[in-house]
């Protein structure tokens, strides 16, 4: 029974990691831009959820789409005002600029919302189910289902639609894409918008069961980068699987080896896997 509960907890946690990483897969994996502000995007979405609930008294059916739309706009603005310009510079400029953006967002949140932890009521979504002795949190189940749906949607968009092909073409070779008549800027802006919208969905859902604070993004960001790396750059399903694996490994190692050693196991496994397969599980070499 404990084994099943561990697996279930691990999968639920992994789904959250996958959900958290979904936007990053698109921006980092597809656009080749390291968005260090990813965690802060999610943090903003979590605050959108929190304020929608406390001020407007509306539930996730309202605030999750709102967060997605809001973050979509924010992603486009970030691309147009910041990323577009620094992409002309060296790689280092890109890294530092989104890192700077991360700090600006985090400290703005600290200034605007204070350092206090806030949280949505635990009972907002369905509470907890007991299925044959296994405890399942409704909020995490929704998060997991959404992660899968979001991944599938994004995967289909990129591989099955004309729009997706154009986005991929721009990411592969900006100049060549322009030569065949694809305007790169709108495509890149759209990719940033979609990536950010995914963080909006993630933030709105994670806020259902996690606390919200200005630096909440930091707890997840490193794991998100690891998830995308492990899954294989640019592979949307890879990130989902990687998230689930990390969740289960973390759950088991924390139970058997102790919480202080779980990070060693997770990151050790990560390094070992990259050693064998540097392109990640689903990435192309």
């Amino acid at each position: 029974m404990i084994l099943l509960q561990l697996i279930s907890d691990g999968l639920q946690l992994g789904a959250v990691y996958a959900l958290f990483s979904s936007g990053l897969t698109l921006i980092w994996g597809m656009m080749n831009v390291m968005n260090f502000a990813h965690g802060q995007f999610v943090m903003l979405a979590m605050y959108v959820a929190f304020f929608c609930f406390t001020l407007l008294k509306v539930g996730p059916a309202f605030f999750v789409p709102l967060a997605a739309i809001g973050l979509f706009g924010f992603g486009v603005v970030v691309y147009l005002l910041l990323v577009r310009h620094v992409m002309r510079g060296p790689m280092l400029a890109q890294i530092i600029s989104t890192f700077g953006l991360a700090l600006v967002l985090q400290y703005s949140a600290l200034w605007a919302f204070s350092a206090n932890f806030v949280s949505l009521p635990t009972t907002l979504v369905g509470g907890v189910y007991d299925v044959g002795g296994i405890r399942l949190s409704a909020a995490r189940l929704i998060a997991g289902a959404t992660a899968i749906a979001l991944t599938a949607g994004m995967h289909l968009l990129l591989t099955r639609t004309d729009l997706g092909s154009r986005m991929l073409a721009v990411s592969e070779d900006r100049v060549a894409a322009a030569l065949v008549g694809i305007r790169p800027d709108p495509m890149q802006a759209l990719a940033w918008g979609l990536g950010a919208a995914a963080t909006g969905v993630a933030g709105g859902l994670i806020a259902l069961f996690f606390y919200v604070s200005p630096d909440v993004g930091n707890s997840f960001t490193l794991l998100a980068f690891v998830t995308v790396c492990l899954g294989g750059f640019g592979s949307v399903p890879g990130a989902l699987l990687a998230g689930l694996i990390i969740g289960v490994v973390e759950s088991f190692s924390a139970y058997w080896l102790g919480p202080a050693t779980k990070d060693v196991v997770v990151y050790g496994l990560f390094v070992a896997l990259l050693w064998v397969r540097p392109q990640g599980m689903f990435g192309r070499a």
């Binding site: 404990i2 509960q5 561990l6 907890d9 946690l13 959250v16 400290y107 600290l110 204070s114 350092a115 206090n116 932890f117 806030v118 949280s119 009521p121 635990t122 907890v128 007991d130 405890r135 949190s137 995490r140 069961f209 996690f210 606390y211 604070s213 200005p214 630096d215 930091n218 707890s219 997840f220 794991l223 973390e250 759950s251 088991f252 924390a254 139970y255 102790g258 919480p259 202080a260 779980k262 990070d263």
Partner: protein, 417 residues
């Protein structure tokens, strides 16, 4: 660069100015450095401490006769320094021991503070006080409780708060008393975050219990920055301890309680060692599912005409919240330091240190429930004291010892309904 003849003539006069202004400045403000986690995981607690310290400074700098006999409340400023006012210089250590050390260096060498206070996280106090020791600047820790802080043979370090061994004694006394009512308390699990704070309080717990012939049944160390604590809650659920004692910061305390709720686990007795459980955010975020959680506190607002009640009212007017234990302990530390500077009648570090060594404050002059403030050779306040409080409804109420209790102890831990 050219200097006019008239300019040259004016130079000797100018040279006198800095010395003069320094003298005047010294009489006007006393600069104290405060190293605190204003951002990061403990940012909420740090910001609260900052609000408390600012209130303490206001009480010291402006007359508050209604708060007498609290030290320095009655008059404006520090009387023995000609009414000099106190000014705090803040440094944000971001919860990082390395940043705390560089903060200390900056406060001493650039801001020229005469003394320092800090910090919420013991690991940050450890590094920053080491810098203060090297430079010979008095350091008063009002809130860090790791035992190792006062065992270093430091000359410039003083701690007003009760620390690890005091709490271990408190919890074991309390549990022994509860056991008299027939409730099992023998199987104790200690769950602690794995930096100086959690580790040292857990160590004190283990050794104090061992001295009484009690063996701690389960000890779980974890990293406070984690995203998930389900495996630890499952470990507890398997072992079924009678008592779970958490030595945790805020985000992790919130996660533990949320996970209790998700996994449907209610330990019979839950004790939170202050910090996370006392963070104002804790009650706001998980209060409704943490009913009956026990905690320690040295601060209780008390009766309407008491100093504690009035200070709580002032704090609430500023922040909209009640004064929590951690903030109150840090304020008390600042009062003790300012009292020493006043008694020293000087801003010279050596004079302040001598005054700190001689500190002997009776309970009536404090804003907190210690039995007084008097330091031993290690710089530890030997009169520090705490009581047990319990989360009932939307606030903590004192429940033990009986002579200080204002509500009845409710067991087992209810959690949620």
């Amino acid at each position: 660069m050219s200097i006019s003849r008239r300019g040259v003539l004016a130079l000797p006069a100018l040279a006198v100015l800095p010395a003069l202004s320094e003298h005047v400045m010294a009489a006007e403000t006393v600069s104290i450095g405060y190293i605190e986690a204003l951002t990061g995981n403990a940012g909420a607690a740090g910001q609260s401490i900052k609000q408390g310290a600012e209130l303490a400074v206001e009480i010291i700098n402006t007359p508050h006769p209604d708060l007498a006999p609290l030290t320095l409340a009655k008059n404006a400023g520090l009387p023995n320094l000609g009414g000099a006012t106190v000014a705090l210089t803040w440094a944000d250590n971001q919860g990082s021991p390395a940043v705390a050390a560089s903060d200390a260096l900056r406060l001493i060498t650039q801001d020229h503070v005469v003394a320092m206070c800090g910090a919420y996280q013991s690991s940050c106090t450890l590094t920053s006080s080491a810098v203060a020791e090297r430079y010979g600047i008095p350091y008063v820790a009002g809130e860090s409780v790791a035992a190792n802080l006062t065992g270093r043979g430091y000359k410039w370090f003083f701690r007003t708060t009760p620390y690890g061994p005091d709490f271990a004694r408190l919890y074991l006394d309390f549990l022994a008393d509860v056991a008299k009512s027939g409730r099992a308390t023998g199987k104790i699990a200690v769950v602690h975050e794995n930096t100086d704070y959690g580790t040292s309080v857990a160590d004190s717990m283990v050794s104090t219990a061992a001295a009484r012939g009690i063996k701690i049944a389960q000890r779980i160390a974890y990293n406070a920055n984690g995203t998930d604590v389900s495996p630890q809650v499952l470990q507890l659920k398997e072992a079924q301890p009678d008592v779970v004692i958490f030595i945790s910061y805020t985000s992790d305390s919130i996660l533990y309680i949320k996970t209790f709720h998700t996994l449907g686990y209610r330990p019979p007795i839950v004790i939170g060692d202050d910090s996370g459980f006392s963070d104002p955010s804790f009650i706001k975020t998980v209060g409704p599912i943490a009913q009956g959680a026990l905690n320690r506190s040295a601060f209780v607002p008390g009766k309407p005409d008491s100093i504690t009640y009035k200070i709580n009212a002032l704090f609430k007017k500023r922040t909209g919240r009640d004064l929590d234990d951690t903030t109150a302990r840090s304020m008390q530390g600042l009062f003790v330091l300012c009292d020493a500077i006043n008694r020293a009648g000087s801003t010279k570090p050596e004079a302040i240190r001598e005054a700190l060594v001689k500190t002997d404050l009776p309970p009536g002059e404090l804003m907190i429930g210690y039995e007084g403030v008097k330091f031993n050779a290690q710089g530890q306040n030997i009169l520090a004291y705490s009581l047990m409080i319990q989360l009932q409804g939307e606030s903590y109420v004192p429940v033990w010892p009986a002579n200080q209790a204002s509500a009845k102890l409710e067991l087992p831990f209810k959690g949620w309904t």
